[in-house]
Structures are given as structure tokens and as C-alpha cells.
């Protein structure tokens, strides 16, 4: 599904290399987790994959089901099935959450040559999904993420994911800011989407989320590289010992 090959990225404005050769492959149906110290480049990786401005790819590449991701506009990547749940979801005053979602769903359908959803169909669809995530009607009416609590913003990201039904989902610290119940809710939302045709790349600092969303593979990222890859037990090791041992091993 997702293939990242020796990806090297620097900041466009500064002479600062952030990703120094990332290799990663997530097969269809798999759940991979990425852990790693603050500032190691996890969010940068997710942004570069989804097409945010401000980065320069200096080497390597990334593809989704064989399509060269880096050649595509952000909206084309989305239409191709890529989704990023943001670490810091963006507030958009003046754009209603509902309008936003309907525009997004229909734009993707149009890009894929499918029929747009009627207003009634859409309403039914969103109500069902919102109910699962305990998102009330008021939150749907409000402007996108404006005045949402940290946890509400994260739930709103998962709602978008559920509505857009992407095939490659990247979750950047979706667990941060969530209370215990919300974490369960969000995990259930993610698990409900698990499917043999859909893959997940879950970026997190905590083993706790991985208790709910069981990863097949865990990667450790440090200083712009994947430095260690293992099974779910790797997350437990990090939980208990931090990164010191892993980083020392490399030195």
C-alpha cells in the first residue's frame, strides 16, 4: 500500500535536514505504529506524505499503491485514498463543519468519477457516523474545530476519516489530549474501519493507544530515520525503558 523509500527532506526556508533517509512499507490491511522522541521527524513525515508546503524532498520517494505521491497535489493524494489525522487540527472560522465535510466528500467522489451525494443521503450518513463517535449535532453545525476542546478536535478528525473512507490512514498523535473514554471511542472508530484493503500508520508516544489499536509492526524513529522495527513488544519496551537503551544500542 504505502512505500517510503530512503526519503530525505529538508526545510524549504532553512538549511535544515529533517528526514535523513526514511524507509518504511505498510502493506494493505496492516497497522503500523511509529514511536520516537520529540522532534525526531514523525509529523514532518506525515506532512510530507500529505503534501504540505514548506518542505523540500532532497532524495528518495514515496508511493501509494504504485502512484508517486510526491508528484500529486494534496487534494489528489486525498482522492487517491490518503488521509492524515492532524496532530494539531486547524480551526477554520466561518466554514461550518457540515459544509466542510460535504464539500470534501463530494469533491473526492467527483475526483474519482463517482456521483455526488445528495443532501439527504449525506445527512443520514454523517448522523450515523457522528453518533458512533458521540459527536453532537451542535458540533457539526459549528465552524470547523473553532472552540472545540482538544479531545473534540481529535474526535472530529476521526469523524472525517470515517466519512471519507480512505485506504491509507495516518494518525498523528490522535491519542494526545483524549480522556480515557474518548480514547476508547476513537479506537473503536478506528477499529471499525480496519479492513483488509485499508492500512494505518499510527504515530503515538504511548503504549496505551496501542492496547486498543493493536499494531502489527512498531517502528522507532529517531533523528529523521527509522532506527528500529519490531512487533508490538517494542512499544512495551519503550513504555518501560524510554528510548535511551534503543538509542544507546545504535551508538
Amino acid at each position: 500500500m504505502l512505500k517510503i523509500n530512503n526519503l530525505q527532506v529538508k526545510l524549504e526556508e532553512e538549511d535544515k535536514q529533517i528526514l535523513k533517509g526514511v524507509d518504511l512499507e505498510v502493506p494493505a490491511g496492516a497497522v503500523h505504529a511509529i514511536m520516537g522522541p520529540n522532534g525526531s521527524g514523525k509529523s514532518t513525515l506525515s506532512y510530507v506524505l500529505s503534501g504540505r508546503d514548506g518542505y523540500e524532498v532532497t532524495g528518495g520517494g514515496a508511493s501509494l499503491d504504485g502512484a508517486d505521491l510526491l508528484e500529486l497535489e494534496p487534494e489528489e493524494r486525498a482522492a487517491a485514498g490518503l488521509f492524515l489525522a492532524f496532530q494539531y487540527p486547524v480551526e477554520i472560522p466561518g466554514v461550518g463543519n457540515m459544509t466542510f465535510l460535504r464539500t470534501a466528500v463530494n469533491a473526492q467522489r467527483k475526483a474519482r468519477g463517482e456521483d455526488e451525494m445528495s443532501a439527504a443521503e449525506f445527512l443520514k450518513f454523517i448522523r450515523a457516523k457522528a453518533k458512533d463517535l458521540k459527536i453532537d449535532a451542535d458540533m457539526l453545525k459549528r465552524p470547523v474545530n473553532v472552540g472545540f476542546s482538544g479531545g473534540e478536535k481529535k474526535r472530529n478528525e476521526i469523524l472525517q476519516m470515517a466519512m471519507l473512507e480512505p485506504k491509507m490512514c495516518i494518525l498523528d498523535e490522535t491519542d494526545s489530549g483524549l480522556d480515557v473514554d474518548a480514547m476508547k471511542l476513537v479506537s473503536e472508530g478506528v477499529n471499525a474501519l480496519r479492513d483488509e484493503g485499508r492500512s494505518f500508520l499510527v504515530i503515538t508516544h504511548y503504549q496505551r493507544l496501542l492496547d486498543h489499536i493493536k499494531p502489527d509492526v512498531v517502528h522507532i524513529m529517531a533523528a529523521g530515520r527509522i532506527v528500529k522495527t519490531g512487533g508490538p513488544e517494542l512499544a512495551l519496551e519503550v513504555e518501560h525503558n524510554g528510548y535511551a537503551d534503543i538509542l544507546a544500542e545504535l551508538a
Binding site: E75, A78, F86, V90, G94, F100, T103, P143, Q160
Partner: protein, 426 residues
């Protein structure tokens, strides 16, 4: 009636006062004398620092091509309203509805101005004169002296439906002046709609006297002709517990100066003025607002938004004056521009002058580009860049549009703004 030169106040290059009965004659002669004493605005006047007055004061109007609406549905089409049509500033009886409406008396200035006595005497030129201090607004004085026509509306109760003034432009060289007077008796309620460019050059004054407990709602759209020029003044006087709400949409137009002068004379009144302007290229739009709080516990709110691209210029001059004794004043002023490229310009001069101690006044003026973070967020959800930009532009305008109380009209206005965006993509 209806000869084209009715709208033209000049004869052999010199202006002449329209034929008048006693009340109108004294108001017009007074205005002519006041104008002779102060002269026309000139470029070095502080109040005209950002907008050149020369084309507005020139003897003749520069020609303006007539915009072809090519079968578009007219604005307010779904609203049941009483239509009054002016073509190049000349009343069009055939296109207008009979001037009869429950709760409202409507007359034309051209006819009512022939009488010797009329209720409009207490308002016509009176609010305009009050609005000359502390800053001169000579183009309004010019209008008081020479405008040959307009409507005089006295609202005695709840108007049965909105009154809709439609200003058509058919003659490329037309130079039109209209002067409206609206008086809302205590407790009365009127919605006034306006739309259309009216002329190559349009000078319009509207004096609104809002009685105690009365409510006035005003929505206008200034017409899409690219080359038209307009200077408009609204003078409003607000009585106790009254409401005044005015929204203006301006898209296109080479030059527009909209002045709004509001005076609170009774306690506990509310005035909101809002504007959404969008310009591409040769577009200069100026909102000049002056709010005087001279009563207790009144709320004033100004929300002006401009979307500019391709060399378009936006100006905002807004002042809130709180006089001594006008305690518990709540004054709010926001003027923002969204610059879609590096060539667009925005000049803002927000001012507060406060002589009372128990007041809450705030103003904010910003100028910026599309929010890149928001744009990326939308695109990452699959919304194409152009559509995402349009969404963000409309979002930027949203709190001005929210000032329109009638949702059907607000939706209609939003649809027009959206359509404009679709036509003006880079």
C-alpha cells in the same frame, strides 16, 4: 415626466435647482448656500486622503459601459416586495409597482417637492446638515441642493412588505442624483432593499429618521458595472430603543465611496452597519463611517470586509465618537481585508474619541492573505485548491453577511458573492 434630462441637474454647464415648492426650496437654497461657502472636496483634504474626489466632483460623468446581466436571475427575486424603479436616475412608472403599501406612505420627491408644506421638511437636508460637523461631506450637500428626485417614505406601522429600490443603468454617460427621506414613526418597522448601479456616476443621499422603538433594516447591492462611480451617504438619527441595521454588498465598480453617518439621540438604541466588498483590478472601494453616541446605553457595531485582488484598493475610515454623558456605550468596529495577491492595497483609519468614562469600545483592523494552514487542511481532505480558496473567502465575509437578518436575503447575497468568485478565478 421621465425625460432623460430630469436626472441631469445642469443646464449649459451650470447647475440649477429643481423646481420646488416652499419647503423644498428653502432646503435646497440653504444647501446651495452652504456649498458655496465651503466648496467641493479636494484631494489634499484629510478626509479624502485615500480616495481621490476628482471624478466625483468633475462637471461631467466619465462614461461607463453598461453591464450585461445576460439573463441572470435578479437579486431579491424570491422576495415579495414593492418595486420602485429608477433608470439612470429617472423614475420608471411602467416598471414600478403602484406606490401603495399598508403601513407606509410613499411619495416621490419630484412631486412632493412641489408642495409648500410637507413632513419631509423636518428631515430633508436636516440630518445631512447635522452630519457636516465635525467633518464636511460636501457631496451630500450638493445632493441636497440639486437632486431632482428620490422617494419620501413615512412608515406608520409594520410595513406589509419590503420596499425595493431598483436602480437600472442603461445610458453610458448618465449622471444621476437621488435623495431619499425615510421617517419611521415610533414603533414602525421597514425593510428597504436597494440594488443596481443606477448610472455612470451616481450621487445618492438617504436620510433615515428612526423614531422611538422603530426598526429599520436595509440591504443594498451596488451593481456590477465595472466602470461605474458612486458616492453615497446614509444619515441616520436614532430615537430611544430603536434599531438600525444596514448591509451593503459591493462587487465591481471603478469607484465607490459609501459614507454612513449615525447619530444616537435616544437611549438604548442599536445600530449595525456592515459591508462586504469584492474587487478585481480597477476597483476602488471606500467605506467611511461616523458614529456619534449622544445617548445612554446604545450599541453600535461596524463590520466591514473587503476581498481585493489584482491592484484593487480598499479604504476604511471609521470613527466612533462618544460624547460626554453617553455612558454604557458599547461601540465595536471591525474592518478587515483579504488580499488575494501582492498588488491589492488596503488603507484603514479606525478612530475612537471618547468623552464618557463608563463605555466599552473596541476596534480592530487587519489585512492579510488566505490562511495557508486552513487551505492545506481543506486540500488534505480532498477539496481542490480553487474550491478551498472560495470557501475561505466566503468564510472571511461571513460575519458581515451575518448582519443581514433575513436568511433568504443573506443566502441570495452569499450566492452572488460565490458566483463572483467563480467568475474571478486567477
Amino acid at each position: 415626466m421621465g425625460l432623460p434630462d430630469t436626472a441631469n441637474t445642469k443646464e449649459n454647464g451650470t447647475r440649477r435647482l429643481p423646481a420646488s415648492g416652499a419647503w423644498a426650496k428653502s432646503a435646497r437654497e440653504d444647501a446651495r448656500a452652504r456649498l458655496a461657502a465651503v466648496g467641493m472636496p479636494v484631494r489634499r483634504d484629510e478626509y479624502w486622503k485615500y480616495t481621490r474626489p476628482d471624478t466625483l466632483v468633475a462637471d461631467a460623468a466619465a462614461p461607463a459601459a453598461v453591464f450585461d446581466h445576460a439573463g441572470e436571475v435578479p437579486l431579491y427575486d424570491t422576495i415579495d416586495r414593492l418595486k420602485i424603479v429608477f433608470v439612470d436616475g429617472v423614475f420608471d412608472a411602467a416598471a414600478s409597482d403602484p406606490l401603495e403599501l399598508a403601513g407606509v406612505e410613499i411619495e416621490r420627491l419630484e412631486q412632493a417637492g412641489q408642495a409648500d408644506i410637507h413632513w419631509a421638511k423636518d428631515v430633508y437636508g436636516v440630518l445631512e446638515t447635522r452630519g457636516q460637523d465635525p467633518v464636511l461631506r460636501q457631496l451630500a450637500t450638493l445632493n441636497t441642493a440639486y437632486a431632482p428626485d428620490g422617494v419620501l417614505i413615512r412608515v406608520t406601522g409594520q410595513a406589509a412588505k419590503p420596499v425595493s429600490l431598483i436602480y437600472r443603468h442603461e445610458d453610458e454617460t448618465s449622471d444621476a442624483m437621488l435623495h431619499h427621506v425615510i421617517r419611521l414613526e415610533p414603533g414602525a418597522d421597514l425593510t428597504l432593499l436597494e440594488n443596481g448601479p443606477s448610472a455612470a456616476r451616481f450621487n445618492k443621499v438617504m436620510e433615515v429618521d428612526v423614531g422611538d422603538g422603530a426598526a429599520f433594516h436595509h440591504v443594498r447591492a451596488q451593481g456590477r458595472d465595472h466602470e461605474r462611480r458612486a458616492v453615497t451617504h446614509v444619515f441616520a438619527r436614532l430615537g430611544k430603543e430603536s434599531t438600525f441595521k444596514s448591509f451593503t454588498m459591493t462587487v465591481n465598480g471603478r469607484l465607490t465611496r459609501n459614507e454612513c453617518v449615525i447619530e444616537f439621540t435616544g437611549d438604548d438604541a442599536v445600530a449595525h452597519v456592515a459591508g462586504a466588498a469584492m474587487g478585481d483590478g480597477d476597483f476602488h472601494h471606500d467605506d467611511t463611517v461616523f458614529v456619534t453616541h449622544d445617548a445612554v446605553n446604545c450599541e453600535s457595531r461596524q463590520v466591514f470586509k473587503k476581498v481585493l485582488r489584482n491592484g484593487a484598493t480598499g479604504v476604511f475610515q471609521g470613527k466612533i465618537l462618544v460624547k460626554a454623558g453617553a455612558q454604557k456605550t458599547d461601540g465595536y468596529q471591525k474592518s478587515q481585508s483579504l488580499l488575494l495577491d501582492d498588488d491589492a492595497q488596503f488603507f484603514a483609519k479606525p478612530e475612537l474619541e471618547i468623552y464618557a468614562d463608563d463605555v466599552a469600545c473596541s476596534h480592530g483592523s487587519t489585512s492579510g492573505a488566505i490562511d495557508e494552514e486552513a487551505l492545506f487542511y481543506l486540500r488534505s481532505r480532498g477539496v481542490p485548491e480553487i474550491l478551498a480558496t472560495d470557501l475561505l473567502v466566503l468564510a472571511f465575509l461571513a460575519d458581515a453577511i451575518e448582519e443581514i437578518e433575513n436568511e433568504e436575503i443573506a443566502d441570495d447575497i452569499t450566492a452572488r458573492l460565490d458566483a463572483w468568485l467563480q467568475r474571478h478565478r486567477s
